[in-house]
Amino acid sequence: MSLLLQEPGLLAGDRPARSRTGLLWDVIKNQPSATIGAVILGIFIVLAVLAPVIAPYGLHEQVGPVYGHPSWAHPLGLDDGGIDMVTLLMWGARISLVVGFAATFVSMVIGGTVGLASGYFGGRTDTVLMRITDYFLAIPDVPLMIVVAAIWGPSLFHIIVVIGVLLWTGTARVVRAQVMSVRERAYVKRARSLGAGNLRIILRHVLPQIAPILIASTVLTIAVAIFDETALAFLGLGDPSRISLGKVIENAFQRTAISSGAWWAIVPPGAAVALLILSCSMIGRAMEDALNPRLRVSHLSAKGFRLRPLVGRGRDAV
């Protein structure tokens, strides 16, 4: 049972809560939208990981005519090269997820570090780092990604780095705000007066406290990274040797799937991307909602005047 969900005041409280890292699990368990999101994401991950084992056909294997219709053997039909769409989707999801996770990891490391340093040290460090963040935020990501990807040349590694290096600003801001409040709490000051160094305080006392907001931000960033990969691939900047979901959409678009009436070559890959983004958004938003105490109370609910449970049902309701 989570401390956080039972005691709303704890978030702003003075005591470090040890069970805070269990928040992700609690949110997934208690919020229907997060549960649905986690299930969808889980299915995608399993299919993507097992693609080499369970994909019905080979990724480069022509198994029928160009844009072959859906049939029992090929439930989603064939693409412009006569390749089974189900197989393509599994392998495509694999690359899309790799890009999503890897790029997000890069941006979490940068954003987390900048946010921590900025919030924890304050003063001039804070001013300088936040200035840089502001400028990064003001320059539109996607055009910059396009320019850099176009100049560097298309490769999976470049795409991951480009997306990762441009997506960290939001995380840095969120983490900074959280760190600034944690820094002022009594137990942090106590640790410092006992002689703990900055590194120890950050790793042992600050980082665990901001972990939930960092995870929420991570999950939301994965969605953006997957979208960005799809966009870059659609503009012809994807790695030509790797099939991602974005690449599948691009291929179908470039090779006239629409005018050939082959809806099955273009609807499923986009729907898969939409489902992936949707599932990450649902989990991330549910976590953010649970972490924001200001959202718990509504003084104007539709059905009369009462407090409405936001998180949890029955006994767990806050």
Binding site: D134, Y135, L137, A138, I139, P140, D141, V142, P143, L144, I146, V147, V148, A150, I151, A223, F227, T230, A231, F234, L235, G236, L237, G246, I249, F253, I258, W263, I266, V267, P269, G270, V273, A274, L275, I277, L278, S281, M282, R285, N292, R294, L295, R296, V297, S298, H299, L300, S301, A302, K303, F305, R308
Partner: protein, 320 residues
């Protein structure tokens, strides 16, 4: 005077951002070693005189530092080089493209803001009801769809009803201005709708969150205790205060509109700035790409500044 300070600060921020963008723009294209990127004068099919003229204009034989100064000077005169693709000045191409993009993006964004705000407010107001769940599910759905894919879906669904590409009907001979307007609007339907739907999802979610935060404030409780009607509380107390974060977030999402327009214009062959980016990438038309990037950054910085000043107008306390 605090207010003046704030305005000056925001304008200075915008100016510095533009300068950083200029440096980036120069560095990305000219300092990358090798490749065609480093040379603006490699216009295909151009006469030696033209190439020589460009090389001279941009001082391509001088050091990189000097080149940067020359680049800024030429930029001040509106000279962005010659497009590799059609051998026209980049600035001329961009002006045409921008004038095609603005009405389409403007229309889509306007619809998204109006309907997004409306449903966002309703979702927050009817919190916990089926209305809210349906609204949020719809908004999340549109938000999650990749822009270009949604565009393609609209093409499939409305095949034959609305035109799926281009901006004007090429076979319309000598149209009156009214016929021309009708034709452009007709072609604009699908691209503007795509943008509107994607942004609608995002704005609904933003407005709902902002409204939920204000609905938890004590002054709402006070208003309620005074016996005000819920409608009046929402309109006069909640929405007015929620407008502040909404303004900022919509401004931040402008960068996204830019990205969205690239995808939408690519699908619908809309001859705007987004399609210019796409074509430039395909053709490796670096002067054009460089120019288009600059225009995109400038427009985002400009609208961010507008939003900052608007915020100040809405809530002068921000200057404190």
């Amino acid at each position: 005077m605090r207010g003046a300070d704030y305005v000056i600060k925001r304008v200075a921020f915008a100016v510095i951002t533009v300068f950083i963008a200029l440096v980036l723009n120069f560095a990305l294209f000219r300092l990358a070693p090798g490749s065609a990127v480093t040379n603006l004068s490699r216009v295909p099919h151009a006469t030696p005189e033209t190439k020589h003229a460009i090389a001279k204009q941009f001082g391509l034989d001088k050091s990189k530092g000097e080149q940067f100064v020359i680049y800024l000077k030429q930029l001040a005169r509106g000279n962005l080089g010659i497009s590799f693709e059609n051998s026209q000045p980049v600035s001329k191409n961009l002006r045409t493209a921008l004038s095609n993009t603005l009405p389409m993006v403007g229309l889509g964004t306007l619809f998204a803001i109006v309907f997004g705000t409306l449903t966002g407010v309703i979702a927050a107001w009817r919190r916990g009801t089926t209305t809210e769940h349906v609204t949020i599910a719809t908004a999340l759905g549109f938000y999650a769809m990749p822009t270009h894919w949604l565009a393609l879906m609209l093409v499939i669904i409305f095949a034959g009803v609305f035109p799926s590409g281009g901006m004007v009907d090429d076979f319309l001979i000598d149209p009156t201005w009214f016929q021309h307007l009708k034709d452009v609007l007709y072609h604009m339907t699908l691209p503007a709708s795509t943008l509107a739907l994607v942004l609608y999802g995002e704005y609904t979610l933003i407005v709902r969150s902002a409204m939920l935060e204000t609905l938890g404030e004590d002054y709402i409780l006070t208003a309620r205790a005074k016996g005000l009607k819920p409608r009046a509380i929402v309109r006069k107390h909640a929405l007015r205060n929620a407008l502040l974060p909404i303004t900022t977030l919509i401004a931040i999402s402008l960068g996204y509109i830019v990205a969205g327009s690239i995808l939408v214009e690519t699908v619908f062959s809309w001859p705007g700035i987004g399609r210019a980016v796409y074509q430039a990438v395909l053709q490796r038309d670096y002067p054009m790409l460089q120019g288009a990037f600059l225009v995109l950054v400038l427009s985002v910085v400009f609208f961010n500044l507008v939003a900052d000043l608007l915020y100040f107008k809405l809530d002068p306390r921000i200057a404190e």
